[in-house]
Structures are given as structure tokens and as C-alpha cells.
């Protein structure tokens, strides 16, 4: 193996990722506990998360093993495969909580919308890397046209959260690449219209309800507002230093809903306090900065756009999930990377970081 591969690898990114994963494990251990009369009982979430982490490391190795520029060739085939899977969902999908999002493979279930997220990231990186100039109408609309179909399929499932994620990742990449002034201004003008369209046509009643509840959670403290109020109480009651590891009453006494998955960071905030949260958010920001540095050092446009896509993939999840838990955003089912429990999400996160590391370690190929 070329030693230069090794020396160029973005080690700090890897270290930060492992640190976050570790923090997630520790938090999950506490979140899976329930206080009983005879002490604590822990369910096996953190053990399973450990297994998923190992799987994730394997995925990361695979993602690092080949030259990332081959991914450009894969973008279109991958895109079509994800479209086919999305089309299969209404036909053969499993219905869970009133939404059809899952395809059962017998031994496991996959969520085609997650794959679509990745496919859109790749295809956008490929299309945007064609030209160095900021996007004019033609290129801009062609990107929009390509993602319209997968977005429509996902929103029909219905899965508003993932649709928004896809659009936000795409928006980040487009912003990074640059837009002509007039395109940008037109988009700004059209944004409120798009939001209105979303509200009246694209949303289900329960989704609208969530947003209204978010605006005024006190309205319905036992129903939809319950999550918001309880997670605010959990976080707020952590105060400066927190209640201590496994001492959080909100979560241990089962006040906090979804405490392993979407609201995991509320457990963290309750037990580690403001100081712990500050450290966690700093870690996340350093993690994003590490991805950023790879993007800025990449030696080709495709690689750099790929890394920027991954950057926004993490950025929006962090922003939306923590924002939701601390009451800045409506409740949408988006997990926090490395902190929330989730098998396929963990594997995917590790694999994406593998791609970023891949880009960082192959910078030398351009030096000749």
C-alpha cells in the first residue's frame, strides 16, 4: 500500500467520529435504563449499538478501499436502483405507524428513502461537477429535474422528514457550488410560495398539527405537545453540571418518549448538563470542520462536492435533531448521528465518513 495514502488520511476526522460514537454509546447505556424498586434494569440497546458500530467500521473500510472517483461512474446506476426500490415500496412495502416506508428482505428491513438520500447526493455531485462556473438556469433546473421523482416518491410514503433532508442536502451542495445572482434571487422569492404549497398540499394533518403544536406546545400538554414539553423539562433540569450519569429522572422514570432514538440527546442534556452539551456541540462542530477541511483540500470538483454533500448530510441532522429536542424545531423523525440508536443509520454514517476519508487520502494522486 502506498504510504502516502496513510499520511494523507484525515485522522482527526476519524478520531472525532469515534469520540462521538463513544459518547453515544455511553449515553445509550443510560437511556436504556429504567429505574425500578430493586435498582436499575438495562435493556440491550447499547450492546446492539456496539455490534452496529463494528458493522459500520467494516462499511467504512469498504468505502475507503477504492478510488472515490469511481463513484462518479456509479452515480447513475445507483440512482436507478434506488428509484426502483422506491417504486417497490407502495407495492410490497410494510406499513408501520400508518406509513409505508420499509421493504422487507426477510432477514432485515431496508428503508429505500435512505438509499435515495445517498443516490441523490452522488448524482448531484456528478451533475454539479460538470462545470466550474456558478449554476445558470439550465444546470440548476436539470439538477431539480433529476431529484423531483425520488422526492415525490418519498413524500407519498409519507415521509416528510426524509424529503426535507434530501432537499436540504441538495440546497447545501448547490449553495456551495454557487449560483448565478439572478437564479439565487428568484429562488429566494419563490421560497415562500413553495412553503405555502407544502403546507396546503404536501402535508398530512398530523404533520400540520405538529408544526402548530411546536408553535404553542402548552395547548395540548397530554397529546402532541407532550414530547416537546417533556424533552424541554429533561434538558432544562440538567442545569449547569447535569444530574450525573444514569441519574436522569425524566428518562429513568419514563417521562421522556423515544429516549433511545430521536430524543437521545435530551437524556444527555439532563445527565451532563450545560457543560456536557457544550462539549458535545463543540465536538460536533469540530467534526464538521474536519469534513470541511477535506472539502477545501480536495483536488477535484467531484470529490469536493461529494464531501460537501456528506457535510450537509450530517449538518442538517445535527441541526434539526438537537433543534427539535430543545424546542427550536417541530418534531420530525430525524435521528442524531452517532448519538441516537439505529442500526442502518449507524452503518450509513460510518460509510459516509469512509467516503470523506477516501477523498482526503487520495489527494496525493494529483501531485504527480
Amino acid at each position: 500500500m502506498d504510504t502516502r495514502l496513510f499520511s494523507h488520511t484525515n485522522w482527526s476526522l476519524l478520531a472525532l467520529m469515534l469520540l462521538l460514537y463513544l459518547a453515544g454509546m455511553v449515553n445509550l447505556y443510560s437511556a436504556s435504563g429504567t429505574r425500578l424498586d430493586s435498582g436499575m434494569s438495562f435493556s440491550g440497546f447499547y450492546q446492539r449499538q456496539m455490534v452496529w458500530g463494528v458493522c459500520g467500521l467494516c462499511g467504512m473500510m469498504v468505502a475507503m478501499s477504492f478510488d472515490y472517483r469511481r463513484l462518479r461512474n456509479l452515480a447513475w446506476p445507483f440512482f436507478f436502483i434506488s428509484l426502483i426500490l422506491l417504486l417497490l415500496v407502495p407495492v410490497a412495502g410494510k406499513t408501520i405507524y400508518g406509513a409505508k416506508r420499509w421493504l422487507s428482505l426477510g432477514f432485515m428491513s431496508i428503508q429505500p428513502s435512505e438509499i435515495a438520500k445517498l443516490a441523490v447526493l452522488l448524482i448531484a455531485a456528478r451533475i454539479l461537477s460538470r462545470e466550474a462556473k456558478p449554476l445558470g438556469w439550465k444546470n440548476f433546473l436539470s439538477v431539480i429535474a433529476v431529484v423531483t421523482l425520488p422526492c415525490c416518491l418519498v413524500i407519498l410514503q409519507p415521509d416528510l422528514g426524509t424529503t426535507l433532508m434530501i432537499l436540504l442536502i441538495l440546497a447545501g451542495m448547490v449553495l456551495f457550488h454557487g449560483l448565478r445572482g439572478y437564479v439565487f434571487k428568484t429562488c429566494l422569492l419563490l421560497a415562500p410560495c413553495a412553503a405555502a404549497l407544502m403546507w396546503f398540499v404536501g402535508m398530512h394533518d398530523y404533520q400540520r398539527q405538529r408544526i402548530l403544536t411546536f408553535l404553542n406546545p402548552g395547548n395540548d400538554p397530554r397529546g402532541t405537545g407532550y414530547h416537546i414539553l417533556q424533552s424541554r423539562i429533561a434538558i432544562g433540569s440538567g442545569q449547569l453540571w447535569g444530574k450525573g450519569f444514569t441519574e436522569g429522572t425524566q428518562s429513568q422514570l419514563r417521562f421522556l418518549p423515544e429516549r433511545h432514538s430521536d430524543f437521545a440527546v435530551a437524556v444527555f442534556g439532563e445527565e451532563w448538563g450545560f457543560v456536557g452539551c457544550l462539549i458535545l456541540i463543540t465536538l460536533f462542530c469540530l467534526f464538521l470542520l474536519a469534513i470541511f477541511s477535506t472539502a477545501s483540500q480536495a483536488k477535484d470538483r467531484f470529490g469536493s462536492l461529494l464531501v460537501v454533500g456528506v457535510f450537509f448530510y450530517f449538518f442538517w441532522q445535527i441541526f434539526i435533531n438537537i433543534g427539535m429536542v430543545i424546542g427550536l424545531m417541530p418534531v420530525v423523525g430525524i435521528p442524531l448521528p452517532f448519538i441516537s440508536y439505529g442500526g442502518s443509520a449507524t452503518v450509513l454514517n460510518f460509510t459516509l465518513i469512509g467516503i470523506v476519508l477516501n477523498v482526503s487520502m487520495r489527494r496525493f494522486m494529483f501531485k504527480g
Binding site: D37, S237, T249, C285
Partner: protein
């Protein structure tokens, strides 16, 4: 990190030039941009700005929640947990016309369980069984049923209406059982028990369907299930209040903040008269039957008794399965409200309707008919109730002595179609609209009905039967009371009123002119003074009446040509006894309808019941003297 290197290499088309071919060729091809790539300057700045915003926004908000408002949230979370508790609004009382209570509330103690506070649910349920003596399996069953009806931290009502001795015992031991709590709930109480059972109905614990239909209801609530309790549910119920309760980690309530005052239900005055209702109940003397006392001018019901009845307190306390089965399967049908939910052949009472119809269809009251005691129609003999016949009768005397033959022959002249239309116009065959659940409409038969029902054409014999209130005609006692009231009040068919403050409501106009009405009223007066209804005669009041003896099965003749006596018949085959009366004294007028199921003769069985009720209404005047005078 090394500083970025800006010298680009010459383009290479393949990183692995040593020949791999075939399927993976396109995958292996690496396209390299051969320009000198520099990431867009603005793009990099945007990424950094995004990271900055992320950090700033999240940290600021966390500072606000954890430092600024930290103590407040800590108080809410650490020791105290916020719960909401309902304050039950007392259900509106129900009173009689004079303001005497016939349904109120009493304090009752219950035992409730909060799952989340319970350390060991099986042991707790076993303890409840030990206290109450109810088998553990039954307690488990109730728990399993109710646990999904409540939200987390809401109490499940496990025991209701605990006795005082048991309450004392539970109170002394409850501290060992976290999650259990003694709760105070008001219980519906019906002091008059059976007497008002069918009018009032009862309340019982809400079921899942009712909760679905009405979001204001929650598990453990009591709602009206029958009678006025059901009909007036919305106004009787009131509105629950709300407490915010702070509870510590052991489930003990620390403090309550009143969020919403409870609003008690609307108090309702009925038009019924408690003492009259009691008198009517006693007059019936336990016979299966019913009594309607109605004011003909206002439509107000002063008594509405049906017997046998049941103790509606049993339902309010949560009726046991055994009691319920006993009520449901009893062959005396105590759950049936006979005034509106049972239909009977009207018997001779029906002649009041027929006579009015004859008059309205141009038959002269003076027209004579000779009654030889029976009429032959084809091979069939239609008898008059009086063996040997009444001789010459006209309309008035036919009503007074209740001659069947007169009505056979006259009805045939008019025909079934007109009878049907007239009876319907008099309010028969449709509900009176009294405002109690499950009122039946009765039946006015017609040619079309018979064809539909039996596939047979109408025959003359059917008309004969109809004319004396036999055959297919079915009425409720209340319909008869409404009809007779209309004769007296100028022809208004009124909605019978149970609630004092309800408006007088005319539901139809009697198709009988003043002459017709006066004629019928006069005939009833004659019947009461010297005819079949003389049992109600009294000197101090203007009285009128008509009896009826409705056959339940076709006439059975004993050996020879003699009719069976009532006592000789099976109970279920005995005739229904009717009397329809009105009485006026000191400007007060009443219509009283008495129906005794399988009682036998109208004048001998139903008559004395009506007589006793008049004694109560008008005072026990020289009733004996009146009878002696005959």
C-alpha cells in the same frame, strides 16, 4: 495538514493501467478533471458560516434552557412531576313538579390505581382482592380491560362505592401500596327506586363507544344509559374541572393548583308529581301494567308508572352480573317501560276512535242497529261481548254499553281504508315524541300492510276485528292518553311533556269537529255514570270513561257455549284490561289511562286502579256513598 498543492498532474485516464477488461471496464475508468481545481471561495465561506450558526444557535438556546430557566425545569422534573387531575362535576338533580328530589348524588369512595406508581401490579391487585372479597381473576379482568382506556399516570378506578368499614381498613393499610389512592366520587342516587325507574332510567360507567363519540368523557365516568338520564345527558352532566397536581417520586400529591372550576349539571324539574306517582304505583298493586296521568290541556304528564320495575340504584352502583341476568330473563319483563315500549290491542277503548270516525264520515248518531249477540259473516260467527245481545242500539248507547255488533256493521260501511287514514290522523301508528328512548309506534293495519306482512288480501272479517280494537291494531297506552286529551282540549294532539319547563307542543290536529268531540265526551260521561265505566263514578266531579278488555288470543270457549273465566285461563292468555278516563273537579282536568296486562276485564281490574288514583287527586270523597247510590 499539508498546505494545498496547486500544481495539477497531467490527466491520467486510468489509475490501474494493467489491463482489467470486461464487465467492470466502465467502473474502472476514472475521469480526472485536468484543470487546476480550486474549491469555490464563497462556498467554503458558506460552510464555515453554517458551522458558526449551528454552534451559536444551539449553545445560546441550551444556555437559555439550562442556565436561565434551569431551576424552573429542575423543579418541574426532579422532585415534582406534573399531572392533571379531573374534578368531577356533580350531575344535575332531578325533581318532581313540587321540587321534591327524585334523583340526586351522594358521596361515595372508590379505590383507584396508577400503573406507573405501582411497584408490583400483581401483588397490588391481589391485595385489592383481599380487601374487597372480589375474586382476583375478576379484578385482573377489570384491570386488563381498563388499562388501555387511560393515558399514562391516569388513575384506573378499581373499586367503587366502598363501605365505611372497608374504607377504614384500606385507609390504614394503603401506605404500603404505592399507586393506590382512595378517591371521592359522587354516586347517583334514586331515593324512589322502582317507582321512577323507567322514567329516570339510570347512569352507569361509560363504555368505549360512548368515549369515542364524546371527547369530554373519560374512563370511569358515569353517563346516562336509559330513560331521562340518557335523553337529558348533555344538560345533566355538567363540566369537569381541572387540577394541576405536582406529584413526588413516590406518587404522593404535593400540591394542587386549580386550573378550571367544575360546573355542575343543570337541575331539572319534571312535570311528574311524586305523591301521585306513588299513589298510582300503589294502586297498581304489583300487577304487570301501567298508568298514565296527563293534563289534557297542557300535555303535562303527572304520573307515568309502569310495573313491575327495578331498582335503578343497582345500575348506578355497577350492577352485578347475577342481578342483570335476573332482570333480563324475568318473564315479567321488568326492564320494559310499558307506557311506551309495549304495544297492546286496544280492545273496546278503540271504539272511541271508531265512533268519532263514523261521525266524521256522515253516519248519523241516531241510526239504529239491532244487536242479536252475534253476526254471521260467511261461515264465521262474530260475537258481541254480551251473550244474547243488546237489542236496538244507536251510536251513543253502543258506546255506553260497548256493543260490538254496532261497530262491526258500521265499520263495514266505512271500510278499512278510511279507518286506517283516520286512526293515523289521530296519532296512532306513530311515536308521541315524549322524549324517552325506544318509544314504539304501534300499528295501524292497512290493505297494503297485510299483503306485505302475510301475502294475503284484506277481508271483511279483518275490518270487523279492527272495529272493536282486536286483530292487528296495536297501540301504546300513551297514544291513547294523547288521543283522549285531544278530545277534551279542543282537538290538539299534544306532545306529552315530562320536563316542567318544556313548551306546549301541538304535533297534530284531531280530525274531529267540536260536535264530534262533544259527542264522544258525552258518551264517556254516560258510560262513567251508568255504563261499563261506572266504577270511576263520583258525585263531586265530572267523570267520563271507557273500558276495554283486549283479547290476547282468539276466544276460547269452554264446554258448551260458555266463555272461560279469567281465572280459568293461563296467565299469558288472559285478556288485557284497559280503562281510559277523564275527570274534572275545581277547574282541574286529568286524563288517566290504566292498562293491566293479562288482568282480565277492564271494568273489574283496571277500573279500581283508576278509581284509587282519582281518590288521590280529588280527595277520597264520599266514594262509598256514590257506589251505594247505584
Amino acid at each position: 495538514m499539508k498546505p494545498p498543492h496547486n500544481t495539477a498532474v497531467p490527466a491520467r485516464t486510468d489509475a490501474y493501467p494493467h489491463g482489467r477488461r470486461g464487465l467492470f471496464r466502465s467502473w474502472l475508468k476514472i475521469q480526472v478533471e485536468n484543470e487546476r481545481y480550486q474549491p469555490p471561495h464563497n462556498g467554503l465561506i458558506i460552510l464555515q458560516v453554517f458551522i458558526g450558526i449551528l454552534f451559536f444557535v444551539l449553545v445560546t438556546r441550551l444556555w437559555y434552557l439550562q442556565i436561565q430557566r434551569g431551576e424552573e425545569f429542575a423543579r418541574l422534573s426532579l422532585e415534582n412531576r406534573l399531572r392533571q387531575e379531573h374534578i368531577f362535576a356533580p350531575r344535575g338533580r332531578i325533581m318532581d313538579m313540587a321540587g321534591k328530589t327524585i334523583a340526586d348524588n351522594r358521596t361515595a369512595y372508590g379505590l383507584s390505581l396508577v400503573r406507573e406508581d405501582c411497584r408490583d401490579i400483581p401483588a397490588t391487585l391481589t391485595q385489592i382482592s383481599v380487601w374487597s372479597g372480589i375474586p382476583v381473576s375478576q379484578i385482573w379482568e377489570k384491570y386488563q380491560q381498563d388499562r388501555f382506556k387511560v393515558k399514562s399516570f391516569e388513575p384506573i378506578l378499581m373499586l367503587t362505592d366502598i363501605s365505611f368499614e372497608l374504607l377504614a381498613r384500606i385507609e390504614s393499610e394503603i401506605f404500603a401500596w404505592p399507586g393506590l389512592e382512595i378517591v371521592v366520587r359522587t354516586k347517583r342516587n334514586y331515593p324512589e327506586k322502582d317507582i321512577f325507574a323507567h322514567v329516570l332510567g339510570y347512569v352507569a360507567e361509560v363504555n368505549e363507544k360512548e368515549m369515542e363519540d364524546d371527547p369530554a368523557l373519560a374512563a370511569g365516568d358515569f353517563v346516562g344509559k336509559a330513560g331521562l338520564e340518557l335523553e337529558l345527558e348533555k344538560q345533566l352532566r355538567g363540566q369537569k374541572g381541572l387540577f394541576d397536581v405536582e406529584v413526588d417520586a413516590h406518587g404522593r400529591a404535593l400540591g394542587r393548583v386549580l386550573k378550571k372550576e367544575p360546573r355542575s349539571g343543570h337541575e331539572t324539574n319534571l312535570s311528574l308529581d311524586l305523591s301521585l306517582q306513588r299513589a298510582a304505583w300503589e294502586a297498581l298493586g304489583g300487577e304487570a301494567g301501567c298508568v298514565v296521568v296527563m293534563e289534557p290541556d297542557s300535555g303535562k304528564l303527572r304520573a307515568l308508572v309502569t310495573s313491575p320495575a327495578y331498582d335503578n340504584n343497582l345500575f348506578a352502583a355497577g350492577i352485578s352480573r347475577r342481578d342483570w341476568e335476573a332482570l333480563r330473563t324475568s318473564n315479567r319483563f321488568p326492564l320494559q317501560n310499558r307506557v311506551i315500549q309495549s304495544v297492546y290491542p286496544p280492545g273496546s277503548v278503540w271504539k272511541l276512535v271508531m265512533a268519532a270516525m263514523f261521525l266524521e264520515h256522515g253516519i248519523s248518531p241516531r241510526e239504529n242497529v239491532f244487536c242479536p249477540g252475534q253476526v254471521k259473516l260467511g261461515g264465521q260467527i262474530f260475537r258481541c261481548w254480551k251473550q244474547g245481545g243488546h237489542g236496538n242500539v244507536n251510536m251513543e248507547s253502543a258506546l255506553v254499553v260497548s256493543c260490538d255488533v254496532y261497530f262491526y256493521l258500521m265499520a263495514e260501511k266505512v271500510g278499512i281504508d278510511k279507518i286506517e287514514a283516520y286512526a293515523k290522523a289521530c296519532g296512532f301508528g306513530r311515536a308521541t315524541g315524549i322524549g324517552l328512548p325506544h318509544e314504539r309506534t304501534g300499528l295501524v293495519p292497512s290493505r297494503a300492510w297485510k299483503r306485505r306482512r302475510f301475502g294475503q288480501p284484506w277481508v271483511r272479517g279483518d275490518t270487523y276485528n279492527i272495529s272493536i280494537g282486536q286483530g292487528y291494531t296495536l297501540v301504546t297506552p300513551l297514544q291513547v292518553a294523547v288521543y283522549v286529551s285531544a278530545l277534551l282540549n279542543g282537538g290538539d294532539l299534544l306532545k306529552p311533556r315530562l320536563v316542567e319547563e318544556d313548551e306546549r307542543l301541538v304535533t297534530g290536529k284531531l280530525p274531529a269537529g267540536a260536535g264530534t268531540r262533544d259527542f264522544i265526551v258525552k258518551a264517556m260521561r254516560l258510560a262513567a255514570s251508568g255504563g261499563t265505566a261506572r266504577v270511576v263514578a263520583r258525585k263531586d266531579a265530572d267523570m267520563g270513561g271507557k273500558t276495554g278488555t283486549a283479547q290476547v288470543v282468539k276466544l276460547k270457549m269452554a264446554a258448551g257455549d260458555r266463555r272461560l273465566r279469567t281465572a280459568e285461563m293461563e296467565y299469558a292468555q288472559r285478556d288485557h284490561a284497559w280503562i281510559v278516563t277523564w275527570g274534572a273537579k275545581d277547574g282541574k282536568r286529568y286524563v288517566i289511562v290504566v292498562m293491566v296486562e293479562h288482568g282480565g276485564g277492564g271494568s273489574s281490574v283496571a277500573g279500581p286502579v283508576a278509581r284509587k288514583i282519582y281518590d288521590h287527586l280529588f280527595g277520597p270523597e264520599a266514594a262509598l256513598a256514590a257506589r251505594a247510590a247505584q
